[in-house]
Amino acid sequence: MPVAGSAGAVGTARPPSGDDQIAISAVGLGKRFQIGTKTDARFFSQMLAWCSGITNTRPLWAVRGIDLQIRRGECVGVIGRNGSGKTTFLRMLAGVLVPTEGTLCTHGRISTFFSIGSGLFSELRVIDNIRLTAALCGMSRATLRQRFDAIVAFGELEDYLYSRLGELSTGFTSRVPLATALHSDIDILLTDEVFATGDTPFQTKCLAKMNELLRQGTTTVMASHSMALIKNNCSRAICLEHGAVAAQGPVAEVVQYYERQCGAAPAK
């Protein structure tokens, strides 16, 4: 159980409020990176910099001061311009990144999608990649055996099971992790623009499956630049600007705020 207010505390226990219905609770969440290191990431350069005290890096707060509570079964949209901190925020929720400050409590098994084709081996067969993704999503071999046909049918991968993944189109490649994860036992689903490469029928199928999971109590946090996707699927949204929450509340209001900031025409 994390201590409220401790720097970078992360936990999977019940949130401090003790409310069973809270799936995610973040208080003062922040993540700082040292940027500019890539040009200087060689061993001897770093040693030299360390000895001389000269460094080419500077701190960058990608996300700072986020307070948020998400109830079980809620679908929350995360919107914001490029570099606003959406992916960093989601990665912290997933436990992939450790917060620099603040407290984060999540309750339940988390499945994540941050990039298309994440965690896949293009040199291996589709069937091998399904098995690997299932394992990475926490699915047991017995469960995979039971759900394998459903996964393959969902992704329409029947004709490609023994093809190398690299031989498939980008759209089909993205179906492998999506179809597998949507059939795993998850309590919290985090997605970051993962529906972008799928065709309309597959997107519709994924959204229907997501709604089914929502009805079963799965919490969803969805980052996207598609305002239509956010408006149609989320009840609440947060808008990030320079790593901080600029607006949060009912999805229509937050989307309207974001579109006003971007000077864009409202999404239908």
Partner: protein, 257 residues
Amino acid sequence: MIDNFAVYANQFRELTRCEWKLREQSTLLGFLWTLLNPLLMFLVLYMLFTRWMGGFMANYPGYLLIGVVQFNLFTTATTTGMGSLNSRRSIMMNFIMPRELFVLTTVCSVAISHAIELVLMLVFLIALGAVPRLSWLTFPLIDAVLLLFVTGLALGLSVLALRFIDFLRIWSIITTAGFFLTPVFYSAAAIGADRQRFLRFNPMAHIIGLARDCLLEGRFPAWRHMAALTALALLVAGIGYAVFNKQKRRLSDYVLS
């Protein structure tokens, strides 16, 4: 806790399977490609030291083969193990799993290939006239110590390889130097008694020496020697794990910055 263990065990199995398939390209031909490196090294050194420079020592082919196979495990396991965080950064940034699994599964996939190499090596040794003896039963213990040693090294070095983009190159230079500073293709006796004391500080010289004594001479490893090597391997594994564990929370940061 038990649930988590079952999940991690399944992840370990699937990742190892994928790593091995990638290494061996899932085919016999692919495995032969992997064998090519130690095989070519063996053939070149064998030709050089027996055919061209005259008889180097009795039973040289067996002596050389054991050295090449054992040192090949050291080089391949440490190099691929330390590069595993870099090569699997996409999984690391998208899935939640114990980060140690990347290094452990890579070393495990190398160990599977090594086990197949060992079977071929034993067949070759028997073909050369070596007689299987009771001492051969202690060989898995020596190999286990070597595996523990390389796993510890790979764990610690993987953090450095992720942090510094040129660390794999540095390690490649170190292993090349290590190959010449270890009696893989020459006898320790050939470098003179006064210089032999430097070999005492080389764990690979000890491990390869024990393997040769066990397989070629039929000698059981002295328990003190074996205990000292096991203690060293445990120490290296402990330090490697401690380094990895200390940096575990920052691994994703290293990928992004």
